[in-house]
C-alpha cells in the first residue's frame, strides 16, 4: 500500500460546524436511539433547494447513501465536486426544484454536520469516537422526522433515495405512513444481505487494522486511519460496479506504461482507479463514521420489527410506491426490490416497479440513466397531479 500517499490538505471540520444549514436540538429535545442510548444535545445538518409552497405540500425528502451527504445538488464544501444527484435534482430535472421543495439531511452517525462519532461529545469536550452509540436506519429516519417537525413540514410529498437512502425511504413509509404521500426506494432492499454484511465487515476490519485508527481515538492523536479507510473504500467500490462495467472501462489495460513492471506498482488502470478512489474518499469522510453507518445498514431488516412479515410493515398504507432496480446491480439485486414489491402487494399498497437495463452495477442510480429519469419524472408528475401540486 505504499502508493496510498496521504494528501496534504486536511478536510474541513464539518462535523460540528457544517457549511450548510443545521438545526440544533437541546437536552429538552433528545434523540432516542434504538441501541438504548439518548443523544442530547444533538444536531442535524441539511441542505434544501426550491421553495416550500403555501400549502406545504411540495416537500421532497432525499435520503443519501452510505458515503453520501446532504450536498445533493450543490458543490461539495470539501471536495468542490458537483452534488451527488445533480443529474436528478434541479430546475427542470425529474426532481424539479422549480416545483418541489427538496430537502436532504446528513444522517446521524455521519460526518458532515449531523451528530456522529467525529462530533464533539458534550460531556468530554472531545470527539465522541467509538464512545458514540450505535445507530440504525430507524434512528436516521427519526432524526429526519424531528428536523421536519422543526421546519414545520407535517407531510412529505415524496421520500426518495438509493441504496441506504432507499432503506430510509422504506423505514419512513413504515414508521410514518401518514407523513409520506409517495415513496421511491431505488436500488435497495428491505434488509441487508449476508453478502453485503460480509463486505462491510471487511471494510471495517481494514479501518480497525490501521495502526492510526488508535482504537477509534485517532482525532486526539492528530492522525487518521487513511490507509485502512482507503482500502475499505476500494473494496466497497468494487461492489458498486459490475464485472461488465469494469471490463468496459478498464479491461486489462496498463496505466501509463506499455508493459508490466514486475512490481506491486499500479500497473493496471483498474488498480490506479481504485487507489484514486480510496485516496480521495479519505479526504472527505471520517473513518469512524464509515464504521457506524455501515453498521446501521447491516442491522437493517425492516420485517424484524413486524413479526418477521414484511407486508405487516406496510399494512393499511396509503402511500404510493415506485421501486426501481438495475439489471447489473449485484449489491441490491432486482430480487431484493421484488421481495419488497411482493410485500407491498400483499399489503394491498399502490406499487409500481421498473427494472432499468444498465451494466453500471449498483452505482447506476447515481449516474446518467435515462430510464431511471423517465420513471422518476413520470411517477412524480402523476403523484403531483394527484396531490394537487402545480
Amino acid at each position: 500500500m505504499a502508493q496510498l500517499q496521504p494528501v496534504a490538505t486536511e478536510p474541513l471540520n464539518q462535523a460540528d460546524d457544517p457549511s450548510s444549514p443545521v438545526e440544533r436540538f437541546g437536552t429538552d429535545e433528545p434523540l432516542p436511539l434504538d441501541a438504548g442510548a439518548v443523544l442530547a444535545p444533538w444536531q442535524i445538518a441539511y441542505q434544501s433547494y426550491g421553495t416550500l409552497n403555501a400549502a406545504r405540500s411540495n416537500a421532497v425528502l432525499v435520503c443519501h447513501a452510505l458515503t453520501g451527504d446532504q450536498h445533493v445538488a450543490n458543490a461539495h464544501p470539501v471536495t468542490g465536486k458537483p452534488g451527488w444527484w445533480d443529474t436528478l435534482v434541479g430546475p427542470d430535472l425529474p426532481l424539479d426544484t422549480e416545483r418541489y421543495f427538496v430537502i436532504c439531511a446528513n444522517v446521524v452517525g455521519g460526518c458532515m454536520g449531523t451528530t456522529g462519532p467525529a462530533s464533539t461529545n458534550p460531556e468530554t469536550g472531545r470527539p465522541w469516537g467509538t464512545d458514540f452509540p450505535l445507530v440504525t436506519i430507524r434512528d436516521m429516519v427519526r432524526s429526519q422526522a424531528m428536523l421536519l417537525d422543526r421546519l414545520g413540514i407535517e407531510s412529505l410529498f415524496c421520500v426518495i433515495g438509493g441504496s441506504m437512502g432507499g432503506m430510509q425511504v422504506l423505514q419512513w413509509a413504515a414508521s410514518y405512513p401518514d407523513r409520506v404521500f409517495a415513496a421511491m426506494p431505488v436500488a435497495t432492499g428491505a434488509r441487508h444481505s449476508a453478502q453485503n454484511i460480509a463486505f462491510h465487515e471487511v471494510g471495517r476490519q481494514a479501518v480497525m487494522a490501521d495502526p492510526d485508527w488508535r482504537g477509534g481515538r485517532y482525532y486526539e492523536h492528530g492522525v487518521r486511519p487513511r490507509k485502512g479507510l482507503a482500502v475499505a473504500r476500494m473494496g466497497g467500490h468494487i461492489t458498486y460496479l459490475s464485472e461488465t462495467a469494469l471490463h468496459r472501462k478498464f479491461g486489462r489495460r496498463f496505466q501509463d506504461r506499455e508493459a508490466p513492471t514486475f512490481t506491486f506498482d499500479a500497473d493496471f488502470q483498474i488498480e490506479s482507479y481504485l487507489r484514486h478512489q480510496g485516496i480521495t474518499f479519505v479526504e472527505r469522510f471520517d473513518a469512524n463514521s464509515y464504521l457506524y453507518v455501515t453498521r446501521a445498514m447491516d442491522y437493517f431488516e425492516l420485517a424484524a420489527d413486524y413479526g418477521g412479515v414484511l407486508a405487516e410493515a406496510f399494512r393499511g398504507t396509503k402511500t404510493r410506491f415506485c421501486l426501481i432496480s438495475f439489471t447489473s446491480d449485484w449489491l441490491f439485486p432486482t430480487r431484493d426490490s421484488r421481495a419488497t414489491m411482493h410485500a407491498l402487494n400483499a399489503a394491498g399498497a399502490s406499487v409500481g416497479f421498473v427494472e432499468i437495463e444498465s451494466d453500471k452495477g449498483h452505482d447506476a442510480f447515481l449516474l446518467d440513466e435515462p430510464g431511471m429519469f423517465t420513471a422518476v419524472r413520470g411517477f412524480l408528475d402523476a403523484a403531483a397531479r394527484a396531490r394537487g401540486i402545480a
Binding site: 421501486l323 414489491m341 411482493h342 402487494n345 409500481g352 421498473v354 411517477f379 402523476a382
Partner: protein
C-alpha cells in the same frame, strides 16, 4: 400482446350473452346482480375521457370496452400484461376501479407510471405465484394466455388471486386458421396473428372449445362468454358452440372460482 388485437369499434352496445352452452353441457349464467352484459349508460360510449393519454387517440378499443363492462365499478383489479395501461386507465377513469398492472416491457411500465398507474415489471408465468389469495375482485389476462409457458398454472393463479378472472384470447379454431392448416397445409398468419411460426411468441394456442375444456378441468365457472368475428362483431348468441368456434376470431370469458 395487446398489439395483436385491433378490433374495429363497431357497435357500442352489443348484446350477445350466452345463457347456455350446448354440447359440453356448460352453463353460463349471468353475473350476479348484473342485468345485462354491458352495463351503464352513455359513459360506456366510445368517446375518450379527458384523462386518456394522447397515444390512445380519440377512440377506445372495443375489446377494452367489452372487458371494462364486465368489471363492477369500484372494484379492485389486476391487469396481467397491461401493455401501455390503456385498459387500466379506462377502468380508473370510467369505473372508479382501484387497478394494478403487471407488464413485461420496461418501456410500457414507464408509460404506465407516467399515467399514475401502479404497474410493476413482471412475468405472468413466474410472478403471479407471489400474489396472496383473494387480493383482487378481478384479474384480467388480455390476449396473453397463448404466450405463457404454463397456461393452466396461470389460469389457476388468476382464479386464486381474484374472485373472478377475465380472459381474452385469439381462437385457433377460427375457420381462416383451419383453412390455412387444413387446406393450404401452412401455419396460419392473419392480421391479428401476424407472426411466422418460427418467431411467434404464441406458444400455446387453443380454440374456444379447448379453453372451455380447461375451465372445466380446473373447476372454473363460466359466468359470461363472448366471441367476436373477424370484423370485431359479436357472434350471435343463438348460435351453437361449433359456430362460435368456427367464426369467433377472439373470445372473452368471465370466469369465477367454483
Amino acid at each position: 400482446m395487446s398489439e395483436a388485437v385491433r378490433l374495429r369499434p363497431s357497435r357500442a352496445r352489443p348484446s350477445f350473452e350466452r345463457e347456455r352452452a350446448d354440447g359440453d353441457g356448460e352453463s353460463i349464467g349471468r353475473p350476479q346482480g348484473a342485468s345485462s352484459t354491458l352495463r351503464g349508460g352513455g359513459g360506456n360510449g366510445l368517446g375518450p375521457t379527458p384523462a386518456e393519454s394522447p397515444e390512445r387517440g380519440g377512440e377506445s378499443r372495443l375489446d377494452l370496452l367489452l372487458v371494462a363492462d364486465m368489471v363492477e365499478p369500484g372494484s379492485r383489479v389486476l391487469d396481467v400484461g397491461c401493455g401501455d395501461g390503456a385498459l387500466l386507465a379506462l377502468l380508473r377513469d370510467r369505473r372508479q376501479v382501484d387497478g394494478r398492472g403487471i407488464e413485461i416491457s420496461r418501456e410500457n411500465v414507464s408509460r404506465c407510471l407516467a399515467k399514475g398507474l401502479p404497474v410493476i415489471q413482471g412475468d405472468a408465468d413466474t410472478d403471479l405465484a407471489d400474489y396472496p389469495n383473494d387480493a383482487f375482485d378481478y384479474v384480467i389476462l388480455s390476449q396473453t394466455i397463448q404466450a405463457t409457458r404454463q397456461p393452466r398454472a396461470v389460469l389457476e393463479n388468476l382464479l386464486r388471486i381474484g374472485q373472478r378472472a377475465i380472459v381474452s384470447f385469439p381462437n385457433f379454431g377460427h375457420w381462416r386458421i383451419r383453412y390455412d392448416i387444413g387446406l393450404r397445409g401452412r401455419m396460419p398468419t392473419t392480421e391479428n396473428l401476424p407472426h411466422s411460426w418460427y418467431e411467434t411468441p404464441n406458444i400455446h394456442f387453443c380454440t374456444i372449445r379447448d379453453f372451455v375444456g380447461l375451465c372445466r378441468d380446473i373447476g372454473a365457472k363460466m359466468e359470461k362468454a363472448i366471441a367476436l368475428n373477424a370484423g370485431g362483431q359479436p357472434v350471435r348468441v343463438t348460435m351453437p358452440w361449433w359456430v362460435w368456434n368456427l367464426f369467433g376470431e377472439q373470445a372473452v370469458f368471465l370466469l369465477r372460482r367454483r
